[in-house]
Symmetry: C3
């Protein structure tokens, strides 16, 4: 019932329909007679006015606009996250090991943990209470998986990795690979054995087919609450501060340190050995080649334009330096021409007084 839900998430209930049964969340533009949706910004006002959901979670200033029951809160997105959990609870797998899992004798697995079909748990691994390891995961030797952490499926955790509590690792994620470190021997590359490890903090998330390499020596450290999307590369000895979020297809090169509460949009590339301050925001496809010591938003790249226009601009870009020199020369020539003008010109007088001002 709407009223119960309001109580459970601490929302004020406004409008009609307090006794409607709610059994699912829905999109604002979906017709669901038992559905609840949410509005996070004014730009959704037209959709809100037209909604056929039974109830909507929103902020006080939008409540008057809703044609249905309103659950009024300060942070509708957060309240909605809780409602989804309440209405669509995940079925956790049963505790215990699937008989097809290959578990080393020396692995210590808490009895409340669940180990899925065809997993491989190697020697010396420790798996704490409430952990869920989905099917087809590999946990290599001497790794630690903290309480309540969940590996969805097909995750590889390499040797000696330390995974925090309530971590979520998605299919195809590879944690703790030996990173990209070589010495030159003439023209050949000789691998420098990578003997460090990865430390993931609590509440970290790593997306599908992302890779976090172990330290060359020492650790690669992903701070508490860091969220890493799909297809992201984190090089050896990178450190990422708490609650920083990174969108898909980005890469952070080795030994770079990223601060807390940063947001890194999609397909950003960050060079190695840099320092990025707290609260830095890189927009999509930014090319980060130097350290940024100040909080703020940084961007790069050229947004897409019609290919014919782009070709013309690119051709000019190659000659920007020459253009700048020609501009400077013209400025000198024009000044010279101005100086050569007859003294009687009133424009001339004005200009001179500008100059001496």
């Amino acid at each position: 019932m709407v009223s119960e839900l309001a109580t459970r998430i601490g929302a004020e209930l406004l409008g009609q329909g307090a006794d409607i049964e709610i059994d699912e969340v829905c999109a604002l533009d979906e017709a669901s007679a038992a559905g609840i949706s949410f509005v996070s910004a004014r730009k959704y006002l037209p959709a809100l006015r037209a909604t056929r959901a039974a109830a909507v979670i929103l902020t006080p200033e939008l409540a008057a606009e809703a044609p249905c029951a309103c659950l009024v809160v300060d942070n509708p997105t957060l309240a909605f996250a809780r409602v989804v959990e309440l209405l669509h609870p995940r079925r956790p797998p049963p505790a215990g090991w699937h008989p097809s899992a290959v578990v080393a004798a020396s692995a210590q697995i808490h009895p409340s943990a669940s180990i899925g079909a065809l997993c491989v748990i190697e020697e010396g691994v420790v798996i704490e209470a409430g952990v869920e390891i989905g099917p087809h995961c590999v946990i290599q030797r001497d790794s630690l998986i903290g309480e309540q952490t969940r590996l969805v499926a097909a995750v590889t955790v390499c040797a000696r990795s330390l995974i925090g509590k309530r971590v979520l690792l998605h299919p195809g994620a590879v944690i703790g690979r030996e990173g990209f470190g070589f010495a030159r021997d003439g023209e050949r590359w000789i691998r420098i054995p990578q003997i460090g490890r990865v430390r993931l903090g609590d509440d970290v998330e790593v997306g599908s087919n992302s890779a976090v390499d172990r330290g060359a020596i020492g650790e690669t450290v992903i701070g508490d609450g860091v969220k890493i999307d799909n297809l992201i590369q984190i090089g050896h000895n990178v450190e990422v501060g708490e609650n920083t979020a990174m969108a898909a297809c980005s890469g952070i090169s080795g030994s770079t340190r990223i601060g807390k509460n940063c947001t890194i949009a999609g397909a950003v590339g960050v060079a190695g050995h840099l320092e990025i301050a707290d609260d830095v925001h890189f927009t999509g496809m930014a090319m980060v080649t130097r350290s940024f010591e100040q909080a703020g938003a940084y961007s790069s790249g050229i947004p897409a334009m019609p290919s014919a226009d782009w070709r013309r601009s690119v051709a000019r870009f190659r000659h920007l330096d020459e253009m700048a020199r020609r501009l400077r020369r013209l400025e000198e020539q024009v000044t010279e021409l101005q100086d050569a003008q007859p003294r009687s010109s009133p424009e001339r007088w004005r200009e001179n007084s500008d100059k001496t001002a």
Copy 2:
């Protein structure tokens, strides 16, 4: 025999050698006495004239140039695709389950389907006729795999995904992961449970280590005939129209809608919540930050140039706005100088009449 092959693909046979035995396809520059190749464009004319293949598939206007048997068709690339299938048929695996597969009791698997070694098929999964699941695949609960679809190996299909008919999923593909959706709670990110699903149409292909996230609510929809290369990210609630093709390393952010028959070249980044029309073509590494409502080709990025030149152009790029302002000021100054010139100058007269024209 060349003549048989011509009949089977509906080609007109020209030139010598109708009775040569053909047993393989080959590259145009490969010497293969029993090989057949193809020419798709005039730029390969030199290679065609020098070819030592036994037969070549080509268009009528190139037939006179070939030193061997010609199979003349309108679309040589398409005809060649059929010839490869005829000469190099794939051996399908036998129907039935490998004994090492872990198959849930409630899964419904058509007797003609093949389930490879060490696969995991969870509760409620439906696998239709003629499906091939290669080794090491995971199909999570309540997913549907349509007729004749093939999962090559090591594919992960997450819960409740709907996979069409004749779909091809390559090793490492992850379909239906819970996407990247969070609410802020102060500085912390709280996951919004992603309760939607993925729907792949018929004849879709998803490459190695690509990821298609499920809808947050509702569906992520990949239309019939869409071809997705390796290492591609498709965010939650994205919709991709029929027959659109995307090359490797591209990413489409959440809730963006891409039209039909688009081509997206490699390493393109598309921001979220955009609308891309049908028949739009993005060139490689394009940075798509706004909607495109018109069919056409769009580009961005700066092609590589010698690093020294690049550094100079980049330094000027940072001051482009200042350069533009200086240019505007110069224009004003020059106009002023022109206006101050003696009236008797013939150039001056011409210029004034230009202005009033």
Copy 3:
């Protein structure tokens, strides 16, 4: 002991402490009383002077600066790589097959090879001496794995791949996938069966979640000593020359040939059908749209800057061509103004003599 280590790597021993026991490598800024570190460049001089390591590997000209035992060599990074191997030897797994592995009857596996838990080795595969196949790998039919090669875990090697000796394949790597080749049939894409294969040379490395596609016809060839980082795409029929190294998130499109000893930094995109000479170096995020026939360093992209500045520069970039035209027009106007100036002006004389010079 320091002195023993010096002997084993052929270093000259300078300074105090020849008899200290060394049992680990450490970072220069780590306090390790039994640790050895290294210095590869003068920029680490402050860290060297402050180090609390027991010994340091360095070049002759830095030896006087070290507060500890010095192992003097020409190439400290290379010497360090050897020391790491000596002090931190990897424990190789035992020879033989894990009982959970699924091995085809016709596979030929050398008795000294190790096959990990839950691997799948298909028909006709040949595995040579000393090979280590970690858990959860799939080797599809008729592939060859050369001596001493190591697949860490969860690697997929597709049919008919040829893998050299001492190759290292990281978790999630996919070798030999059927590449992205289609013919158009009206609006539909028809797959061209990819019947070629992949050939990896000796001492090649392929990182996590990278993909090397097989040839369409013929081979994709990765030369001896090539190092490929994580999340890299190599298209069909690409050839990469010996000892070329590629950093994470890069992509090479089909049929491109890259020379020897190239370095390709992170997130570089290389278009298809190009020729890249030996000793070419692309900096991070370079967009390579044409062949480069000369050795050298090439770059592209716009480094990140404050978003507000970036927006202004980008707006001007769209009008670069117009700016260049306006600049040209101004130059003409200024020349005209100069020509119209009285003959008596000394500046005028000087300028004219410049022109005729």
